[in-house]
């Protein structure tokens, strides 16, 4: 492999953070491979996204503003990759990133590695490092047997850095095809908020929260003080206190924030596998013998409902002092 192509996910031109991480990492890997770092951005608003990408260290930004949902993205990626020749494609490990990356892989018959947290490049061969089984093992997989390969990078692991790079903007010619899927409408049910996968600080609540209210009050306030996101254990989601999108764990999301604060969460295996690769884990629990005591960096045994509001105040004060 020689070139590296970052697939850019965006909403009407606003780029997801994981895609900026992909754009930055594309440069790092392309330098190791001795090739070019390219970006592909498709869909309504793509030209605006391309302007933002000019601040990232890319050689070229390929743009299609055709409105053909995921088909348009996969077609654009295929056309740029085939034009560039042997290439590694980076997508974010997100719903759209995974859909587009895997479809591209099926089309060009190449390997796909998901949830990548590190790369090794040796002699033009790219290997991807991926935690599996919730971080129980770390696997390394080589992309081989094709000119192409796809890696879905775990959000929040690679840096996104603006530089003086000024990638040339290139229009992707239309292939004249219609979308196989019709988008009839799009409904926002929640205010667009930072997801647990992308937040650098996650404050999660479990069974100990006792109801839905803390998820929109004390936990939310603490998460906001950090500029982070609210997560939840399966018990809290199954009880209907908070939506599934917030769930961390085996049947939810696997995340690696810099700081994970587990509130009223016992730390059952099912939850542990979703968060044990967090850089630092702080737990607040009534029970000092809860399983989470075994792997939290700090467990404070006490009443979360008394501690959290105090903590929120102190975090706000500390942030204000730095501002």
């Amino acid at each position: 492999m020689q070139n590296v192509i970052a697939f850019i996910e965006h909403k009407h031109g606003a780029i997801r953070r994981s895609s900026l991480e992909a754009a930055t990492q594309a440069r790092t890997l392309a330098d190791k491979l001795g090739g070019k770092a390219l970006a592909v951005v498709a869909g309504p608003g793509a030209p605006n996204a391309a302007e933002t990408l000019k601040k990232y260290p890319l050689d070229a930004i390929h743009v299609s503003d055709e409105d053909r949902f995921l088909d348009g993205a996969v077609d654009a990626l295929e056309s740029v990759a085939k034009g560039a020749g042997a290439s590694l494609v980076l997508v974010g490990n997100t719903m759209v990133g995974r859909d587009v990356g895997s479809r591209f892989a099926a089309r060009v018959d190449c390997g796909v590695n998901a949830d990548v947290v590190d790369f090794r490049v040796e002699g033009g061969v790219v290997s991807c490092v991926m935690p599996k089984l919730g971080g129980l093992v770390i696997t390394t997989c080589t992309l081989t047997g094709s000119d192409f390969g796809v890696a879905a990078i775990r959000p929040n692991v690679f840096a996104a850095k603006e530089t003086s790079g000024a990638g040339e903007i290139v229009q992707i010619p239309s292939n004249g095809k219609a979308s196989t899927v019709t988008v009839e409408d799009e409904v926002e049910e929640a205010a667009a908020e930072l997801g647990v996968e992308e937040a650098s600080v996650v404050v999660s609540g479990g069974r100990g929260m006792g109801g839905p209210e803390p998820f929109t009050t004390i936990l939310k306030d603490l998460a906001d003080a950090f500029g982070g996101a609210v997560g939840a254990s399966r018990a809290a989601v199954d009880a209907g206190w908070v939506s599934h999108g917030h769930q961390v764990g085996q049947t939810g999301k696997t995340i690696s924030p810099q700081l994970y604060i587990a509130v009223g969460i016992s730390g059952a295996i099912q939850h542990k596998v979703g968060m044990r690769t967090s850089e630092t884990i702080v737990a607040i629990n009534k029970d000092g013998s809860a399983p989470i005591a075994e792997f939290a960096d700090l467990l404070v045994v006490g009443d979360a409902f008394a501690i959290i509001p105090e903590l929120t105040k102190l975090v706000r004060d500390a942030k204000a002092a730095h501002a």
Binding site: L133, V183, T280, L298, L311
Partner: protein, 253 residues
């Protein structure tokens, strides 16, 4: 796949998942797909049938049987040592061939499996079958030769539709999977499970370990997280101060 609720261990010698003593279960995400198929069949009530297609070692037969006990009509099991070690791409190629041979109007999958945690297969099947793919569906309806779903997004949903045949992956919000009834369990014993080997698939490319395009080269066990400090907080202020001090030491604040 192994039971979701069991703690998983890796054999340090073989670097493989220890499956002994862990009950093998139907992928919980696939139960939503089966339930969605059964509900659709019941609603259409037009003679449509539900066929289970599974790529699994021969030992997976009881799992396929459970899917039949839920109410599926018949099943196709793709089992062959030559398929062992297939990567995602190889799995998509082999499964698409087995599915294509059934001539389906609609292919319904789960969103992911909890053992390998990968949501990539539905879109790959769509590409290999030449069908549109509608992923992360929380509702599913079929009318006038089209399938319409609500696709979950991070902030809500979008309504999308496509002409049949199509691939749909359903999320766990789609339904509440039924338990097999006693009648269903008894009936499942008489239902056909068609066995397919790799040679039956008419593949023109190598799959399995040799054909894999993502080759596993290393499995390492990371060091276990060390047990940290445990501090008893007399009140909210003390608990909060303990955490702030810890976060400042670690340069979070």
């Amino acid at each position: 796949m192994p039971d979701t609720n069991a703690d998983k261990r890796i054999d340090p010698a073989t670097k493989r998942l220890v499956r002994t003593g862990v009950e093998t279960v139907l992928n919980p995400f696939d139960e939503y797909a089966i339930e969605a198929a059964l509900q659709l069949k019941e609603k259409l009530n037009d003679g449509s049938t539900v066929t289970i297609v599974s790529m699994t070692p021969a030992t997976g037969k009881e799992i396929v049987r459970k899917a039949l006990a839920m109410g599926a009509d018949d099943a196709v099991m793709v089992s062959d040592d030559a398929l062992a070690g297939s990567d995602l791409w190889g799995t998509a190629v082999a499964l698409a061939a087995a599915i294509a041979a059934q001539g389906p109007d609609l292919v319904i999958t789960g969103t992911q499996s909890t053992d390998a945690i990968s949501g990539d297969l539905p879109g790959m099947l769509g590409e290999k079958l030449g069908f549109p793919s509608l992923t992360y569906a929380r509702t599913l309806e079929v009318a006038d030769g089209r399938v319409r779903v609500q696709r979950e997004t991070e902030t809500g949903y979008m309504t999308i539709s496509a002409a049949l045949p199509a691939v749909v992956s359903v999320t766990k919000s789609a339904n509440e999977p039924r338990y097999p009834s006693l009648k269903g369990i008894m009936g499942a014993k008489k239902k056909e499970i068609k066995q397919l080997a790799a040679a039956d698939l008419g593949l023109t490319v190598a799959v399995g370990t040799d054909g894999a395009k993502a080759q596993l080269t290393d499995v390492a066990t990371p060091p276990a997280r060390a047990k940290g400090q445990v501090v008893n907080a007399a009140d909210g202020a003390q608990g909060a101060q303990t955490i702030i001090t810890f976060l400042k030491e670690r340069k979070f604040l």
